[in-house]
């Protein structure tokens, strides 16, 4: 038996050593560099780049708490938008940008889509009829076109350039947003807003967006121009809102009010700058007669407050004019009393100039006799086929009522009587 020496196997440690060296001196540093680049440098570059890009295109600035980048995606967290005075115009928990390439180091990427996650936007209608957000979104003065050179005899200035492009995609998605509208008329907060924002050079358009407000459902649509000359339009639809939620935090909170509301409001910036528009508001299943304006009517008629009475119908149609809310018709029908109202509520101090025609019966009068000279108590008159008018002045919270002769039966009042008969077409 011969012992033959086997050839020695190649040393296993050599490639292993090379592998270790490769890992130690090449792979690890590269990985560390990539990680450092991806997690530290690139987010910083993106964060600074976005803030600078936004500041160059609007009259405000953006602050971003942190950023992270993916292959074709950037997520900005803790985003705040400030106006020129440093006031917060809006915030978002996160903004996700999808790009056409890796966001850093391969040229300027195009943004393919934007998703705003839980944005919270405040829009205040200023006295000049402009929303404060329009000023923020306007092109900054430094980007305006330079003054034209005068050549020859021509000194005609060219037309103004369009606002600076925002380099945004055509649409921006909004997820679970909050919109706080502050206007002289009403200041609703819309939450749970899921919407699509259409981006154009001169305006942002909100397509029919579903939301919640005052415990009910809502939809909002409209557009907002970039800058004061561009105008705006807002349309708000509300269904099944809670009266208790509506008056919460107002001076009316202590009153015995309840019920559900449906309504619609459309506002545009008028030719003189003021907001103008129209709307309607219907209440049902409600206790509304404890409103000070109604109580003043009952007091002058020497009637006990029917505050616990349920309102079967409460219908209001109104126009929004530059300085006041014009109430075209205000129908209130209960089992005990019916009121027809119209008139004005001035925005300045909420001063009232309303007229009510009361009926102490759900039935319309047989004839339309008017009362020539009103004397108190007038309750006896309004039980009969004689009509008086109760004029309400003062303010919303401190109204003053007095009876006056009713000389004219207007068409809306006739419509109201038609409604009482069940023949109303409206």
């Amino acid at each position: 038996m011969s012992t033959q020496k086997k050839p020695a196997p190649p040393p296993a440690s050599r490639p292993s050593r090379w592998r270790r060296k490769l890992v130690l001196f090449v792979v690890l540093p590269v990985a560390a560099f990539l990680a450092f680049f991806k997690w530290v440098v690139a987010p910083m570059v993106v964060r600074q780049g976005v803030m600078a890009a936004v500041a160059a295109r609007i009259c405000g600035r953006v602050e971003i708490r942190s950023a992270s980048i993916g292959f074709r995606e950037v997520e900005l967290r803790g985003v705040s938008l400030f106006d020129a005075t440093g006031r917060v115009a809006g915030t978002a928990d996160a903004v996700v940008l999808r790009t056409d390439r890796f966001p850093v180091g391969f040229g300027t990427p195009s943004i393919e889509s934007i998703l705003l996650i839980r944005p919270d936007i405040l829009m205040t209608l200023e006295p000049d009829g402009e929303f404060d957000l329009q000023r923020v979104l306007a092109a900054p003065p430094s980007t305006a076109a330079p003054a034209p050179e005068v050549s020859g005899s021509s000194n005609t200035a060219p037309p103004p350039p369009p606002p600076t492009s925002l380099f945004l995609p055509e649409k921006i998605a909004v997820e679970d947003g909050t919109l706080r509208l502050v206007t002289p008329l009403v200041s609703p907060t819309f939450s749970g807003l899921d919407a699509t924002l259409v981006v154009e050079a001169r305006r942002f358009t909100l397509e029919n967006a579903a939301a919640r407000t005052f415990g009910g459902r809502a939809s909002i649509s409209g557009w907002l121009g970039r800058g004061s000359e561009e105008g705006w339009s807002v349309k708000v639809n509300v269904a099944d809102a809670d009266v208790v939620e509506l008056v919460r935090g107002t001076k009316l909170e202590g009153h015995r009010l309840a019920g559900r509301l449906d309504g619609y409001l459309t506002l545009v910036r008028g030719s003189t700058g003021a907001a103008v528009g129209a709307g309607w508001l219907d209440a049902r299943d409600g206790r509304l007669l404890d409103l000070p304006v109604f109580l003043s009517v009952f007091n002058i008629l020497q009637l006990n407050s029917p505050g616990e009475s349920f309102v079967k119908t409460c219908r209001t149609d109104f126009h929004v004019l530059a300085d006041r809310l014009h109430v075209e018709r205000w129908y209130v029908i209960t089992d005990g009393i019916c009121l027809f109202g119209d008139g004005d509520i001035l925005f300045d101090g909420q001063r009232l100039d309303l007229d009510f025609v009361p009926r102490l019966s759900p039935e319309p009068p047989e004839g339309y006799e008017t009362l020539a000279e009103a004397e108190q108590p007038v309750a006896d008159f309004i039980r009969k086929n004689v009509l008086v008018s109760v004029d309400v002045t003062g303010t919303w919270m401190a109204p003053v009522a007095e009876t006056t002769p009713l000389r004219v039966i207007t068409k809306p009042l006739k419509d109201f009587f038609g409604l009482l008969k069940g023949k109303g077409s409206r």
Partner: protein
């Protein structure tokens, strides 16, 4: 079809948008908005129509309706309800029939 509807919507929005701030007086604007409000109220009584999903634009009495409705019958009923409102001179049916 959707693209066509979107194009029509954008054209309509563009027309009404520029018109609202430049061409119409405040009285005309209020009158148009009042018509829009009345049409909105009228739509609340139309079966198969969710008024919260319908956008109403009015320019000098011409009403444009956009948004989804359940079917052709609902679209016709919505347009008919809009036509019955005082002051309406015409109705542009841009409604999207979702059953198609």
């Amino acid at each position: 079809m959707k693209r066509l509807a979107l194009l029509a919507l954008l054209v309509a929005a563009g027309c009404t948008g520029s018109g609202t701030t430049t061409a119409r007086t405040d009285d005309e604007l209020v009158e148009d908005q009042a018509i829009a409000a009345e049409v909105n109220r009228a739509l609340s009584r139309v079966e198969g129509v969710d008024r919260l999903k319908i956008q109403i634009e009015v320019v000098r009495g011409i009403v444009s309706l956009t948004g989804p409705v359940s079917d052709e019958a609902s679209a016709k009923a919505a347009c008919a309800a809009a036509r019955r409102v005082d002051g309406v001179k015409g109705v542009r049916d841009l409604l999207e029939r979702v059953d198609h």
